[in-house]
Structure formats: C-alpha cells, structure tokens
Amino acid sequence: MPEKQRGRYAALAIAAVVIVVGIPLWWKTTETYRAWLPFSEISELDSLQLQLSVDIEVVFSRGTLTPEQQKKFPLSHVNEKEHQVDAKTGLRYKYETRYRTATIMEEDALNQPTAAEADLSLHMLSESSCGSVVVYVIPESSTLLPEDVKVYVGQRRTALLRSPPFKTSWNLKEVLSNLDVEVEQVVSTMSFGHQDIVAALSNRVRMTKVTKESMADSMRAIKSSPGYEITFSLLNPDPKSHSLHWDIEGAVQSYIQPLLNKLAPIANFSVDSQILYYAVLGVNPRFDNSVSAYTLSADSLSHVINPVEARLGSNAASSNPVLNFLLYVPDAHHSPLFIRDHSKRKVPSNAFHSPRWGGIMVYNVNEMYGPEAERPVDININMAKVMGVFLAQLRLMLGVQHTHPPTGFVLQSPGSAGLADWELDRLLWSRSVENIATASTTITSLAQLLDQIGNIVINDNIAQQVSSAVTSLQSAVAELEAGNLAFALQYSREAILASERAFFDPSLLHLLYFPDDQKFAIYIPLFLPMCVPIVLSLLKIVSEAKKRRADKQAKSD
C-alpha cells in the first residue's frame, strides 16, 4: 500500500522535523541572554584573606647607640600578626622594619631648636611613601623634645622618639627588642589599628563584639562613596535686625579646599552654599537667668534638625550623600544663644553635629553692635572661627578617627591642610579595606542572585563590569599585600564603582510574571493541537508495525 506507506513516511518526517529542527529553534529563541560571568573567580573572592603591609623605618641619630651596636646596620626585620575575623575573612598584618643610622643631612635637620622645625626640615630631605612610617630615635638627653614628652608625631609621616635608656653593654638584639615596644606604640598611633580595620569590614562581618567607642565611630563616619556633596548654609531668622555677610567662597578656598584636595584620592567632593531667611530652629530656647542668655539643652538638640532639613535644598541630579553644615545666627530677641552639654556646662565651640548628616553652629552677634545701631545691622561673620568648627566636624564626618594617643605623645596640629599625612594614611587604610570588603560582598551576592534566578537577562555590559570589578579587586588585594597603599586605594575605588554599577544596573530586574505554571499555560494552547496528530500517527505506526510482526509470526507458524 504505497498510500499508507507514504502516509507513514510523512508522519515520520514531520515528527523528525519537529524534534530535530523545531525544538532546538524554540529553545534557542526563548532562552534569556546570559553573558558569561567569571563565577569561579567570584567564589574565590568569597573568602577574603587580606594582608596589610606597613613599611617602618627606624633611624638612629648620633648619640643613641654605641659604634659596637651600630656595626650590623642597616638591618631589616619582619613581624607578622594574624587574625581570623570570621570563617570567611582573615587578616594578616606585616610590619617590615628597617633599622639604619641617620645621614649627615638628617643630623643637621635634627639639630633645629624645636621639634616642629626639625620635622619640617626632615620633610624637606625626603618624601616617605604613602602608608609608611619613619621614626627618628633621638638621644635620651636631647632637648629637642620637652621633658615629659616621649614621642612627637609630626605633620607628615615622621615621628621623633626619645630613646629609652640603653646599656652600652647590650648587644644589638637586646637594644632592638627593648625599642620594639616603643616603636609599636608609635606605629599603632600613626598607622592602622586592629579595631579600625575590623570596623571597616562591617559590611562583610556581622558585628557582635565591638566596643562602644568603635561602634560610635562607625556610626558617625559616613560610608565610603564615590562622591560627596558638602553644603554650607547660613540661616538668618531675623533679616530685619541683621544683615549678614559671609565670604563663603573665600573661606572655602582657603580652609576647606586644601583638605578636600588632600582627600581627592578618596572621593570627589562638590561644595555649594546657600542662605536661608526666616528659617527658625524647631525648638524654643530657654532663658537662663544665671548667665542672662538663652540656652539650648543637649536633649532638645535632636529635635532641632528636622524642621530645618525640610527647607534645605539639595542637588537633585546626583545621588551622592550630602553633608550639611549650618551656621545659625540667632534673632535679636533670642540672643545670645548658648548650647549646654549634658552636664549643663557651656560648650566652647557652641556647635553640635549629627552622625552622617552634618553639623550646626550657633554664632552670636549681639556683642557686635549696641542697642542704638540702625537696623538692619551690617555684620561680617568671622569665617576663620566658623570654618575652624566646620573643619573639625567635617573631619569627624569623613571618618578621620579621634586618636587617643598614649601618655607622653604629642601630636602636631594639622595646620592649614587640616589633615596630617599620617591621619590621611589611616583613612586610606580603612577606606581601602572597606571598599574591598564592600565590593567583594556585592560581587558575590550578585553572582548568587544571578545563579538563583534563572530568567534574569545578563547583558554584555554587566558581564564586562563584573569582570573589571573582579580584576580590580584582585589587583587591590595584591597591592595591599605589597604595601602600595595609594595604588591599593585606587584599585579598590575602581572595584567598588564597577561592582555597584553592575549590581544596580536597571536591566537586572528578573522577568516578572513568568512563573513556571504560567509558562505552561502559554505554551500548551500553541503546541498541543500540533502535537496531538503527530503523536497519534506515530502511535498508529507503532501499533501497525506490531500487528504486522504478529501477522508474520502467525503466517510463518
């Protein structure tokens, strides 16, 4: 029966076409595009083993050691400490110490009358690299440092250490082990401390046992971000009495900009200013008869910020965190206005700040004019005093930690830049570690998310961002190990930018409304009517073949 055979062949051909061509075509055209991601490298990043290397140079000046003891110089020594923070995060601190004697020029520099001048001339001689610490050991009897001062920490990365008493009979090893304690103290002040690094890892590690001090520090300092906006606002509730002039542009150029320039490796800063009229504090100050002034108690300060914040503008175009610094000049009827702390004492700065938000300073002008002055009174605000307070608050907001140096330490004031080099180094250490920790958690959670949800489309640009984030992370960790702090920070910044861009890409919303049961509901009406005749004809072929075989067997029997 050629007809039947033809029919059989037709059914078989159709089934073949459907299975060989149709199903792969349907599969290919309905699969979501998922670019390749380096999943293996990402899972390697899940367990983070960070090594932080510090270069320490200890320079002995003339008169500290005997020539016998000096024979073995220059000498170097490596000290390593390991900490396992949790199952997936480990820290290793490597201190590479080099000992040598001072050169002639350094001796000349150390001959200056005061420690500050010595520090300046030492800095002229050589520039120490980012992250390193140089300690100059001066004789015990030296008059460079005052009597009770043991260590003088300069503005750059150098410190002057008064030598502890050495016996001339000691050999070099004993001298160095005696000195190590002092040097370690200096290094822990000028370079990173273990608590700071652990606090910087708070994104990765759930903080259970932290000291109140470090938790307060971690809450106060703003999170690492690619950019910050700093806004200075002048609040004048009484324009009828006071006509205020402030040279904010000049003040920012002179005082704030040097600090921001120094912090440029960490983030981009944009500064703006505004003046708000008829802006009142949300709290009524109380008149205190004992000082005949109005006072704001510490408890009421928390309620001051909210009514003001509603009126502060911010840049709508950027999503960077904003730090607000408000200067409030009280109105004529409520002047002078003082802030009292918890023990009802006057606060010398007359300012307070809120963690991660900014600061407010109250500037009293009642002493600048007498009652007979013509209203409105022209008042020029003393920007040096104001910026002194704002700069201190800005340092706290940005995470320059409060160091409590041990007794006998004197820290040179930061001067016009607002930030000492070693303070910057501390910030760079914690920022690098924080960036690396955040970027690694972002990448690993992104990989986990993409793995779990099968129908998220992964575009090429996301794959590229992820790959570049992974390579930057690996470079950052390597640079930290090598001790190049500046490069480590740069790579960590690139890593965090790339990982954030990849994680927050708008295309990564998984295709909604496609749960599996709905997929069946879509495909069944399309494919079932087509499949039914094919399957039935195939069944018929099979049953006919069986019957023929049975017939043949019966015939042959």
């Binding site: 300060l301 928390s302 914040e309 700065s349 300012a351 307070f352 600061g359 201190a392 919303l509």
Partner: protein, 389 residues
C-alpha cells in the same frame, strides 16, 4: 568622739569618690541610649496601589500615614510617596483638593504640603521593586530614589486590595509575597537598611509577610489569612468610604505620639483589636533582633537624630584669601535685556482675516447625503443610476 569623726570623714570621702564614678556611669548610659538603636536616619516608603474613585479610602490611608510620618519629623526628601490615583483632583470629588479621613470632613489629610513622588500610572510593581532594590535608571531624580544606607530604619506601608499571597497593583497586575521577600533579601545583601518595619492594610494581609526571610524585619498586617479588612465609615457628602478600619485606628494612635514620646512597638501591636477592627491584626517579630518592647515608635515613624556636641575645633590663623576674580568679565558689554512682548495687541487688532482653507464636508453632512442617496436609490431602483452619472 574621735572614732565618730573618723567614720563621718571616711563616709564623706567615700561619697566624694563615688560621685564622679556614678556620674561617669550616667554619661555612659546616656551614650549607650544614644546609640542603642543603631540607626542614624529614617526613610519611609508609602504606597497606595488602587485606582478608581471607590478606592478613595486607600489613598486616604496612605496620606494619613504620610501626614503622621511628616509630623513626627521625617522630611520629604526621605519619604517616597506612591499614589496610584489622584483623588484630590478627581472629577467626582465634591470637595476638590481635599482628601478627608474622618467623616463630616473633619480632617483633611491632603493639606497643602504634599509631595507625591510616584503618581498615577507610575505606581507599578516594577517601579516599586526598583525603588526598593535601587535599580533605577540613572536619569531618576533624587526625590524618586530610596537612598538609604546600612544605618537607615525604613518604614514600608502598603495598602490596597490583596489576597492570599498577593497584592493587586492598579487593577491589572500583582506582586506576590515571594517577590516582596526576595526584594527585601536583596536590600539586605546590599545593606540598604538597618531595620525595616512593614505595615500592610489589605484583605488577608498577613499572607504578605509569611515568606520573609531576611533579618531585622518586623511586620504588621491588618488581617489574617482568610479574613477581610473592612472599611471604616462612609461619608454621605463624598459618597465613598473614607478610611479602612485598621489605618483609622492607627492614625488615632499616631496622633497621640509626639517626637519625644517613649511609646514602643508593643503599644502598636495592640492597635485595633478584633472588637474594633472585626479582622484580627497580626504581626511578625521573629526576624527582628531587638525586643519589640524596647523599640520606640519614633524609631520608625519619626526621625529623632542622634546628636553629639562638637568638642574640638581647629585653630585657623591664615587669613581668608579672596577668590580669584575672573579677568575680563567686566569689559564685556552686557546688552540690556528685555522681555519679548507677551501680548502683541497691536498685531492682533490690525490683523487681516485669514483665508480659511477648504475642508471636506463634516461627518454629519456626509451622513445626511448618504441617507438621501440611499432612500433615492431604494425607491427608484438602480437602473436609474445611468441617468445620473
């Protein structure tokens, strides 16, 4: 005698020694209190998901929570308000520009200081999830983003029509409880919140928080699975129900709270018992780290800032340099600027009438002629057509 003196002196010295110790303890506890909740800022995401005039009560619900949250201190820049329909300027609103929450028009929750961030058709499941996870296109302005960090406490309030495991958006799509739980997990992975309070006022609301699995979440719902949340009172002047029962009593409870109040979450759980609400409100605290009794209402609904006194200042001595003046700007002649004549009356008065373009006949005329032709051909038959053409 001597012995007595000695004892009094000893006791006095003891007292003197212990006072500073006690004082430092006091300062410690104050500092401890300051940082006990672990958050430094507050955010609120308030969503109304229903359209149409008869869902007036959902918009009123959301606006009353918005009003309380603003009153307790959270600024507009930290509130993302999503309203799926505009009731205040709806054609059917007999009192335009108002949304009332109490009958007899006692309380207008719309006010004159409302900032709606997502309105009308912008309130979709996709936009809601984008706001939560932060995956917004780069062109999105700041006011439409949830810029929270790891120290933010977020309040999320959803209201609308819901069912067992889903919430209806805009009468055309749904968000399921699994999607919501996944969104919260993604927020947790990126540390976009410190603690989160989730309140939902829909039918079978408790089903929406069943699937949460991220830490630091506390959830409240107006009704259990299988129960309906009921509306409170209709206003005969406006013609619709004004509020839902649960949010009505929630609003009444929140009106008693002021920024310095010490009311805690246990009081919030007691809002609207079954006798008042008919449905049984539910809550879920197993994912929350702290004890609900120690969580203040203002931790989520208000914005009490942590403040510290600034103790140190920096001594700045160098004088302020005046900024570098841009050279040459004063030499350029600035031409005087004038406004373009807004209403050129002279031109209008002396205008010549415009030649009107010819337009084909209007629909009505066309229809009329077609009717006439149809009747003509019906009566006289088609064979007469050749006489016409």
């Amino acid at each position: 005698m001597n012995y007595c003196n000695l004892i009094t002196i000893f006791a006095f010295i003891n007292l003197l020694v212990s006072i500073p110790h006690g004082y430092s303890n006091y300062v410690e506890t104050k500092a401890g209190q300051f940082f006990s909740s672990g958050h430094t800022n507050n955010w609120a995401v308030l969503v109304c998901t229903s359209r149409f005039w008869f869902n007036y009560r959902h918009v009123a619900n959301t606006l009353s929570v918005y009003r309380s949250v603003k009153r307790l201190g959270i600024p507009d820049s930290h509130i993302v308000l999503m309203l799926a329909d505009d009731m205040a300027c709806n054609y059917r609103n007999p009192k335009p520009a108002t949304v009332f929450s109490h009958k007899n028009m006692e309380l207008n929750v719309y006010g004159d200081d409302v900032e709606v961030d997502y309105r009308g058709y912008e309130v979709t499941v996709e936009n809601f999830l984008r706001v939560l996870t932060g995956r917004l296109p780069p062109s999105t302005p700041r006011s439409k983003r949830l810029l929270s960090d790891d120290r933010s406490n977020i309040l999320i309030y959803l209201t609308g029509h819901g069912g067992n495991g889903f919430l209806k958006f805009q009468d055309s799509e749904e968000i399921s409880n699994m999607e919501l739980a996944d969104a919260f997990e993604q927020m947790w992975q990126k540390r976009r919140y410190n603690e989160l309070l989730f309140i939902i006022d829909t039918c079978q609301g408790a089903s929406m928080y069943e699937r949460f699995y991220s830490p630091n979440l506390m959830a409240l719902a107006s009704s259990q699975v299988g129960e309906d949340s009921l509306s409170h009172q209709p206003d005969l002047g406006i013609g619709v129900h004004l509020m839902d029962k649960y949010t009505f009593y929630l609003l009444e409870f929140l009106e008693e709270v002021h920024p310095a109040s010490q009311a805690n979450m246990n009081d919030l759980f007691k809002v609207c018992p079954q006798s008042q609400c008919v449905s049984t409100p539910g809550h879920r605290t197993d994912l929350f780290q702290r004890d609900p009794g120690s969580v203040l209402i203002t931790d989520f609904f208000g914005s009490v800032r942590k403040v510290e006194i600034t103790k140190d200042t920096i001594n700045l001595t160098s004088p302020v340099e005046p900024p570098i003046k841009r050279s040459g700007s004063s030499d350029i002649q600035i031409e005087s600027l004038t406004y373009v004549d807004q209403l050129p009356v002279a031109e209008i008065i002396h205008q010549k009438p415009k030649q009107k373009d010819w337009h084909p006949p209007d629909g009505f005329i066309l229809g009329l002629w077609t009717l006439i032709l149809l009747v003509f051909f019906q009566t006289y038959g088609i064979k007469h057509l050749k006489h016409i053409f």
